[in-house]
Amino acid sequence: MRRLLPAAAALLLFALPLLTSNQFLLHLGVSVLLWTTLGVAWNLLGGYAGQVSFGHAAFFGAGAYTTMILYLSRGVSPWWGMLAGGAVGAALALPIGLTCFRLRGPYFSLATLAVAEIVRLVALNWESLTAGPVGLLITALPRVTLLGRDLNWERKEPFFAIAAAIAVGAMLAARWVSRSRLGGSLLAIREDEDAAEAIGIDTTRAKVAALMASAFLAGVAGGFYGLYYRYVDPDAVFPISLSVEMVFIAVVGGLRTVAGPVVGAVFLATVAELFRDRFTVGHLIFYGLFMMIVIRWLPEGIWGRALRLLPSRREP
């Protein structure tokens, strides 16, 4: 049963476009899946290793720009472009990790904030590469055939399928990491960093590895974002608020859980859509409010609490 449940959920997910052709619902689904991926990515570092980053927008944005630039200037297919976006995100994470992980706790968090702002300012001002504040626009996506049929980029179905594949891939990766040796090291680091070193864990390496994996996922998600909206500018893909939203999804859903970010993302997207019509910023008020409520009364997050209520299962 426990093994079947995730499989059934995944099956349902991929079948959704067959059940409905409501474009708005599918769009909502795409944003939930995109947010899920970002929450899972952030959770890898923030949840499992307890390293709170306020700068993950840097990796998302780097991925988005990489995919866009490769497509616009070199004609690289978006598939490879998204992977390259992830790779650039991970590559960016290496020097950032090696420097920022010299700091611990809140100091690390502040450093990531500063790094992300530097990256944003570079993107804003390196106009020959990024077109600066004007942003990059894709007018037409390439023809892609799947099983002999052209994918129709004007509809949401293909995007939904891609987003679902990325989100499921990210969750499988998170599950794999959490059960690997690296997962054990991250757990020890979260609990007590000195003690982790004292039992022979290379804490810097483990943290950098987690950051790079996390940045890779965020970069792929960024690449997808670029293709889906066909437009990126620094304010859209590099803002501090984006980093905070990733934190929100992981915290509200449940730190250190594989499925928690799904719950967080559904929650976030629902709140956003409910309020966007009435007043543009209403959802952000609720993000702030829920973040406070969850930390105060539900520190293990919604999904974390649900797991605890279910017997016979523990996620350490």
């Binding site: 100091y107 702002e117 300012l121 934190v247 952000l284 973040m291 406070m292």
Partner: protein, 287 residues
């Protein structure tokens, strides 16, 4: 040469206000080890208070501080008592995330109430800048600088000379020892949170004639404020003052001699280097 002096002067003037915001954050950190991510929103509230006082009642923004600073002092104490204190035992990362939530909440409530428009406040006496020795000094910025200097001096005297001030300093040096000496650490913490918030609010009141005002301005201010306190060493008041002036100078000189586009990045680069190579701050001596 004139450009140099001009940027030097405006750097110091703006820096004094950064310093005040930084001092507010750093006293809170000193006593409670809390990094308050909602600190920028407190500045924003002060700015809006002064703005509405002028727009609605024609009360000079600087005069309106007499109302808003005590109001924010109270608000800070209440916020600590009912919002922040219950989550402090959960650890510093929880507190960080929690105040991030608070920041989001306050900024966007303001956005809902007052819309995202960029506002400016045009004071009649702002039209003609002072021109001592051929350099231009905007009157409101100069008044703000003078008041900030006065307030900071007042704070210094308060901390150095009064019993309550000494208790605050004692608590910030060693909470356990302070408690053993009979200091009610919880009351000091509440008071300090009020004090830090009031300083942020006062800085907001002083800044409003010189800065664009919009509800999410706190996001940028709080980041600058981190730069300021880290430059000076978290928890150190003289450090925050020096850090504020330094950031003001880096920004104004950087804009002239490096590049306008990268003047903010310059501040962050210094911030990062200090965090990495001198985590006790440029002026700290802690081993």
């Amino acid at each position: 040469m004139e450009t140099f002096v001009q940027s030097l002067v405006s750097g110091v003037l703006t820096g004094s206000l950064y310093a005040m915001i930084g001092v507010g954050l750093t006293v809170i950190f000193g006593v409670m080890r809390i990094i308050n991510l909602a600190h920028g929103e407190m500045v924003m509230l002060g700015m809006f208070g002064a703005y509405w006082s002028w727009t609605l009642w024609r009360v000079d923004p600087f005069v309106s501080g007499i109302l808003w600073v005590p109001v924010l002092f109270l608000a800070g104490m209440l916020a600590y008592r009912f919002l922040v204190r219950p989550i402090v035992p959960g650890g510093e990362l929880n507190t960080l995330l929690y105040t991030a939530g608070l920041s989001l909440l306050v900024a966007n409530l303001a956005l809902l109430l007052w819309t995202g428009d960029y506002r400016t406040l045009n004071l009649p006496y702002a039209a003609q800048p002072l021109r001592p020795l051929g350099i231009s000094v905007p009157v409101p910025l100069f008044v703000a600088f003078a008041l900030a200097a006065l307030l900071t001096l007042g704070l210094y005297l308060f901390l150095a000379r009064t019993d309550l001030g000494r208790a605050v300093r004692a608590t910030s040096q060693d909470q356990e020892a302070a408690a053993l000496m009979g200091i009610d650490v919880d009351r000091i913490a509440t008071f300090t949170f009020g004090l830090g918030t009031a300083l942020a609010g006062a800085a907001g009141v002083l800044l409003v004639p010189s800065l664009y005002l919009y509800p999410t301005v706190g996001e940028i201010l709080v980041v600058k404020c981190f730069v300021v306190v880290v430059l000076g060493g978290l928890g150190s008041i003289p450090g925050a003052i020096a850090g504020g002036v330094l950031l003001g100078l880096v920004e104004s000189l950087g804009a002239v001699y490096v590049s306008v586009a990268y003047k903010d990045a310059l501040g962050f680069l210094i911030f990062l280097s200090v965090l990495l190579f001198r985590p006790q701050g440029l002026f700290g001596t802690r081993a």
